[in-house]
């Protein structure tokens, strides 16, 4: 596939993520911050985010495994995940966090477990799409480098 076609494929793929509500305009802000002084910025931020998100989801899972759930501790983790999701533009994941926050506020353990299932699904979907996006970006960089 030639460079122009790859770039179009990437653009269309990101657009589809916007249309599906997986990403929102905040992700465009992040793409706009990538330039020659920060050529790998998008990949670095996505990697940071995924590492943070997986750690937090595991902690939430662990907390909900206790008989007596520490809801204030849980709230702190939800807050972090919602914050990083909104900062990277992960729209559906951010919305899923709001469900968990509400269940946590209500001290509803069963509700929290259901909300965590949704968060896990949304995160897995997002991670798969980010991996595809980064694969396209790397292919573009490789082609551009070969053409120089």
């Amino acid at each position: 596939m030639d460079l122009a076609a790859l770039k179009t494929q990437l653009k269309n793929f990101v657009q589809s993520m916007f249309e599906e509500g997986v990403l929102d305009n905040q992700f465009s802000q992040i793409q706009a911050l990538q330039d020659s002084t920060n050529p790998n910025f998008v990949e670095e931020v996505i990697t940071l985010f995924c590492n943070d998100a997986e750690r937090i989801i595991n902690e939430i899972n662990r907390n909900l495994g206790y008989q007596n759930v520490d809801f204030s501790n849980l709230d702190s983790y939800v807050h972090q995940l919602k914050g990083s999701s909104s900062s990277i533009g992960a729209n559906r994941l951010k919305l899923a966090c709001a469900n968990l926050r509400q269940a946590s506020d209500e001290r509803n353990k069963e509700g929290c477990l259901q909300a965590l299932q949704l968060i896990t699904c949304e995160y897995c979907l997002l991670r798969r799409k980010f991996q595809a996006l980064l694969h396209l970006e790397r292919s573009i960089v490789e082609l551009e480098t070969n053409q120089k």
Binding site: L3, A4, K7, Q26, S28, Q29, I30, Q31, A32, L33, D35, N38, F41, V45, L48, F49, N51, D52, S76, V78, H79, Q80, K82, G83, S84, S86, S87, I88, G89, C97, R101
Partner: protein, 156 residues
């Protein structure tokens, strides 16, 4: 915004792509030219948010430092480092954002403080403002909120 074509030449797909991205970037980042050297401290427990906030500030030419907890923020300020702007998260480890804000103000620091949080409600807003922040916003930190603050600090 349509890409700019070089006069007399057929623009390549590469040119159109690059011009399009540049125009998009300008549109999104609301260009601002700072006349003065501004400094900012970002106090945020979440790495992704802190890195993004710092880079957004740097893209506007603001020199930034970042710490991930309230205690380190207090220690840095107590060491004599001055900032024009402090961006502080409500949820922090070791010392939470509300208490860290109170202590920073108690130290006689009068610079602009912007409180950020992922989950905003009226009670959180009131609590953060009462602790001493000047502005309270829900994440993400975006140019729409940041640029007016930077212009004000720059005397524009």
């Amino acid at each position: 915004m349509a890409p700019t074509l070089p006069s007399g030449d057929q623009a390549s797909d590469q040119d159109n792509w690059d011009n399009g991205r540049l125009a998009h970037k300008r549109q999104l980042l609301t260009e601002i030219v700072l006349r003065n050297r501004l400094t900012a401290l970002v106090v945020g427990g979440d790495t992704t948010c802190r890195v993004l906030e710092q880079l957004l500030l740097r893209s506007y030419g603001v020199q930034t430092q970042g710490v991930d907890n309230g205690r380190d923020a207090i220690a840095l300020i107590a060491s004599g480092v001055k900032f024009n702007l402090i961006i502080i998260d409500m949820i922090l480890s070791v010392l939470n954002g509300l208490e860290a804000t109170r202590q920073i103000r108690d130290m006689g620091v009068h610079c602009k403080m912007l409180g950020v949080t992922a989950c905003s409600g009226e009670s959180e807003r009131q609590a953060f403002l009462a602790a001493g922040v000047d502005v309270f916003i829900e994440k993400p930190l975006d140019p729409e909120h940041l640029v007016p603050i930077l212009r004000e600090l720059d005397g524009q």
